[in-house]
């Protein structure tokens, strides 16, 4: 989230699209209710189902799953053509005025540089024109046909209300009603907030769904303001933290990158990370990259990271592909290229697409290690559960080690909520049986591995034996020790370069924030964006003062929010160019003539003069981006692409299948149903119910009882067509697998007309499996396709094709 849950009360219009907050984030959704009750805010829901959020909405518009970009570009087209633009925001605070270099173009669904063979672009032309002064060329008058604004206008022109109806199945009147309500938020005193979740990410163009809304929010002037923002509601309780800490193939904590093999040394690595400002005076905060990186390496390797060895640059692995994400690793597993796999609190056999392929992969491992507080299907993938998991254990040679871990109620530490608050928690109970904390387990593994390398030698032991592990009890570091390490500390005294008698940093002290990080090895810091979480003043994440000056919803003294305890990102943009709040009744910060003050920590240098420095300080432009240069693989503007399995061809680019740069493994093409395949005529989608949390609550008797029966949802029309009765058994199958469930025949789902064709939707809730307290059921991912988003590989769970028929139920062996 750019903003916080408690800030939603400040909004005038909530748009829930790509999520279902009332169902999936109930206690956060209460802030929507507050806004409605106290500010007269309105709620719009755009979703394939009339869901629980829609049931309390002021306006609901149906949309076919997988067509969000057409809808969003339609909204942008509407705002541009009806002058629903906050010009005083767009001109100075976005890159609308930036001129794009000659050579870049877009036509028929593709941008310049497409290589069909590689399913990739050469993105060299996707850049600004750079002037003789070394800065990007801008045209304040917006006359230049190659400025971003005019390119955008041209790009979205095709998405007329009629086209939106044709692609999305949303009736034109419903679309226009949404457009009208959204357009009203283009004034400086009205804001809209976007609440989205996996309904947007789980597509082969998920990242571009989100960009589409971000662009709209910028055009309306709704980023950085109270009651505005792009609010990713997020899933698991610390999924934000795990991402912040870079537990991903290609990341280093704080959104730094693991080097690739094209960067053989540190100098080459840093050469593309200069982040030179693209406009005069701009902050371009990533210019400090080297400080973050070197301090991280000092935290990882302590005295073994030196200036001489480039801070241990060779200790880091170098990538040869974009990333070894879960989809890639399971593909490798299936092809016999993986021997050993760890699952820490994660149940991939249910959580990734195409269960059949996943199970085949697990069966090829030599060893699978599970760390979990609960039973999972993954840990028991080798166990025969008849129709629910038909396997022959004797044929599976994988050794499985299952380690019992503590859960949240038995450990101490911090989690990051969707609003970026790091909240500390304390243990309440003793672990059951022999369960141990994950920290203990990881420490034990490290110490044992290190000992083996010390005794026996072996392949490049250096990064293992030199890992900085200076905890009081190396066998079990404490949460406090690790939190202090993430915050960062001073390793050697630092003196003022102008006055060498003045000590600016003292060895052994905790840093007060990332502004103190240095690139000469005198500071360590595990995760620069968390710096400030545990300072000399103590544990900032444990703060529990819930006062809220000005009733602004910021709660600055409650826990710690990254970065720098800031609650609304880009909050400099809540003021006009001169530093005056757009809406005085919703002041966040303001320029008092000498400095920035207000209810939030300013997202700009405290004394940076308005008009001098742009509000988007991380970007070399100083502005936000409507057009993202070469930063996204599938294009600088979003384009409507159909899902890989789709009832219709792409109306705007009929030759393009799916997202043209999404990665598809060779074996998987044949597992996708063809476009419009009559064997799989219905548009499937998956979702979660409020009583359930993914696959965990199968282990909870109460939640299992609250929603006991596996079901799928279909419309009355489809039920009639197929002779399916409410409560009757059905079989649902895709090209990859099948499941049996009870039919919920409902008015919540209606057939849609897409490009002249009737499209029926089949809703498939997730949860059931073959372990736990719940009734046995089928995992929904038997149906879903093995393909991910082109930028970040989130699987396409929300749009796939199935068939359905009445049935007498599964044969339970």
């Amino acid at each position: 989230m750019t903003n916080a849950w408690t800030d939603i009360k400040n909004t005038d219009l909530v748009i829930i699209m790509g999520g279902n907050a009332a169902e999936a984030h109930p206690c956060g959704f209460k802030w929507v209710t507050e806004a409605k009750a106290n500010r007269g805010a309105k709620l719009i829901v755009v979703d394939p189902r009339y869901n629980r959020s829609a049931s309390v909405a002021d306006f609901y518009a149906p949309i076919r799953q997988g067509s969000d970009i057409a809808f969003l570009m339609g909204l942008i087209n509407h705002c541009i053509s009806h002058d629903k633009v906050q010009w005083e925001y767009v001109k100075p605070f976005t890159n609308a005025t930036f001129v794009v270099r000659e050579g870049y173009a877009y036509q028929d669904g593709l941008f310049t540089g497409y290589d069909e063979e590689k399913r990739d672009y050469n993105r060299d032309s996707w850049e600004y024109e750079i002037g003789p002064d070394g800065y990007a060329v801008v045209d304040e008058t917006l006359q230049n046909p190659r400025c971003v604004w005019n390119l955008l206008k041209e790009h979205v022109a095709i998405y007329t209300p009629e086209m939106v109806e044709r692609i999305c199945g949303t009736p034109k009147e419903a679309f226009l009603k949404v457009a009208e309500m959204v357009g009203e938020c283009s004034t400086p005193t009205k804001t809209m907030t976007s609440m989205y979740a996996l309904g947007w990410t789980q597509h082969s163009k998920g990242s571009q769904n989100i960009r589409g809304m971000a662009m709209l929010q910028l055009i309306l002037g709704n980023i950085g303001v109270r009651g505005g923002g792009m609010n990713a509601l997020r899933g698991h309780s610390n999924i934000q933290g795990l991402t912040d800490l870079g537990l991903m193939s290609n990341l280093i904590p704080g959104y730094l990158n693991i080097p690739t093999q094209k960067e053989p040394d540190f100098t080459t690595y840093m050469s593309t990370r200069a982040f030179k400002p693209l406009r005069p005076n701009q902050t371009s905060y990533w210019q400090n990259y080297r400080k973050f990186f070197v301090s991280f390496m000092k935290s990882m390797y302590g005295p073994a990271a030196t200036a001489e060895n480039d801070w241990g640059y060779n200790y880091l692995p170098k990538l040869d592909v974009a990333s070894y994400d879960v989809l890639r690793i399971f593909d490798m597993m299936k092809n016999g290229k993986v021997n050993l796999y760890f699952c820490q609190g994660f149940n991939p056999l249910q959580a990734f697409p195409d269960k059949g392929k996943l199970a085949a992969g697990l069966a090829k491992l030599k060893m699978l290690v599970i760390m979990d507080p609960l039973q999972t299907e993954t840990a028991r993938f080798w166990e025969d559960h008849g129709t629910f998991n038909k396997v022959s254990p004797a044929d599976i040679q994988t050794e499985v080690i299952q380690l019992p871990t503590t859960c949240f109620a038995e450990d101490e530490g911090s989690l990051v909520n969707s609003g970026r608050w790091l909240q500390w928690h304390w243990p309440g109970g003793s672990p059951p049986g022999e369960a141990k904390t994950d920290i203990w387990i990881m420490a034990q593994i490290h110490l044992r591995l290190k000992e083996l390398y010390q005794k026996e030698g072996g392949a490049f032991p250096d990064p293992i034996v030199n890992l900085n592990w200076t905890y009081k009890d190396p066998g079990e570091p404490t949460a406090e020790e690790l939190a202090r390490e993430m915050n960062g500390s001073v390793l050697a005294d630092v003196y003022d370069p102008v006055d060498p008698t003045k000590k600016v940093l003292e060895a052994g002290k905790q840093l007060s924030g990332f502004g103190q990080l240095r690139d000469d090895g005198t500071t360590a810091g595990g995760c620069w964006i968390f710096s400030g979480c545990w300072t000399e003043a103590g544990n900032m994440m444990a703060r529990r003062d819930n006062s809220d000056p000005g009733d602004a919803g910021m709660f600055l003294k409650w826990s710690f929010s990254w970065p720098a305890n800031r609650r609304i990102l880009y909050n400099r943009a809540s003021c006009d160019v001169d530093g005056k709040p757009w809406d005085p009744s919703r002041k966040l910060i303001e320029w008092d003539g000498a400095k920035w003050t207000g209810y939030d920590v300013p997202d700009i240098a405290p004394t940076a003069k308005p008009r001098d420095v742009g509000p988007f300080i991380m970007n070399p432009e100083g502005t936000s981006r409507l057009w993202v240069r070469k930063m996204m693989r599938d294009g600088p503007f979003p384009v409507h692409y159909e899902p890989f399995e789709s009832p219709v061809a792409n109306v705007i680019a009929p030759k393009i299948r799916g997202n043209p740069v999404a990665r598809v493994f060779p074996d998987d093409w044949k597992t996708f149903a063809d476009i419009g395949d009559p064997a799989f005529p219905y548009a499937g989608t998956s979702y979660r119910l409020t009583e359930h949390f993914h696959y965990w609550t199968k282990n909870n008797h109460v939640n299992s009882v609250l929603q006991p029966e596996q079901f799928v949802e279909i419309s009355e029309e489809l039920a009639k067509d197929k002779g399916i009765e409410l409560g009757g058994w059905v079989r649902v199958w895709s090209k990859r697998g099948e499941l049996y469930a009870k039919a919920v025949v409902t008015k919540r789902i209606k057939p849609m007309t897409v490009d002249g064709k009737i499209v029926h939707i089949v809703g498939v809730p997730i949860h059931w499996g073959f372990v736990g307290a719940a009734r046995k059921g089928f995992t929904a991912n038997t149906l879903t396709p093995f393909v991910g988003d082109a930028n970040i590989e989130t699987p396409e769970f929300k749009a796939f094709m199935v068939n359905i028929e009445p049935s007498t139920g599964p044969v339970v062996a």
Partner: protein, 199 residues
């Protein structure tokens, strides 16, 4: 809200009041006092409290865990009740159908309680000690890493990567756990490192 008058303080005070006051002082008759003395005291009176947050979604509702026994005194603590934290700015004490049943996930019948091993081809798990399990894991890692570590690529560039082992990290663990995990995993050269952010 004034923290001095928070609900927690109020509970403590009123709890102590019930336990420590003779009812006669409140004007009860002897008969009523006799009945009242047979009534169980408020069930949370003798519990310790821990502030925590809900383990499920990232709304991160504040909760209070009530236990018999006090971990801070080195005692065993048995969780008897979990409820919403009314001091918490986001949820103000409320919980959804998942948060309301948190005690039952902590106390689930299918919690894991000891290390287990499933041998190749077997149809059952068998219990093993922590030492056996951890030594097996370390040995398997060492052997696989030594056999498959890629020090240089075909162009002779130092790449120091290990691709035949992968690690999928949890996303309901703490940041501190995640950081410890990051250090241990990354130090081995593993690139197949991922978490639930994608799903």
């Amino acid at each position: 809200m004034n923290m001095e008058l928070s609900r927690r303080t109020f509970l403590k005070t009123s709890g102590a009041g019930i336990a420590g006051t003779t009812l006669g002082a409140f004007g009860f008759s002897e008969a009523e006092a006799a009945v009242a003395s047979a009534v169980k005291p408020f069930h949370l009176v003798n519990t310790t409290e821990a502030r925590n947050t809900c383990t499920y979604c990232s709304v991160a509702c504040g909760i209070i865990i009530y236990s018999k026994g006090d971990l801070r005194k080195g005692e065993k603590a048995d969780i008897v009740h979990i409820e919403g934290d009314s001091d918490h700015p986001t949820n103000r004490g409320t919980l959804c159908p998942k948060g309301s049943a948190l005690r039952d996930i902590v106390k689930s019948q299918t919690r894991l309680t000891q290390p287990m091993l499933r041998k190749a081809g077997s149809n059952a798990f068998e219990a093993v000690s922590w030492d056996v399990a951890l030594d097996k894991i370390a040995r398997a890692m060492k052997d696989d890493r030594d056999a498959n570590f890629v020090a240089t690529n075909s162009d002779g560039v130092t790449v120091n990567r290990w691709l035949t082992t992968g690690f999928l990290a949890a996303s309901a663990t703490t940041n501190e756990t995640a950081f410890a995990t990051y250090k241990v995993v990354r130090s081995t050269g593993i690139l197949a490192f991922d978490n639930q952010a994608r799903v």
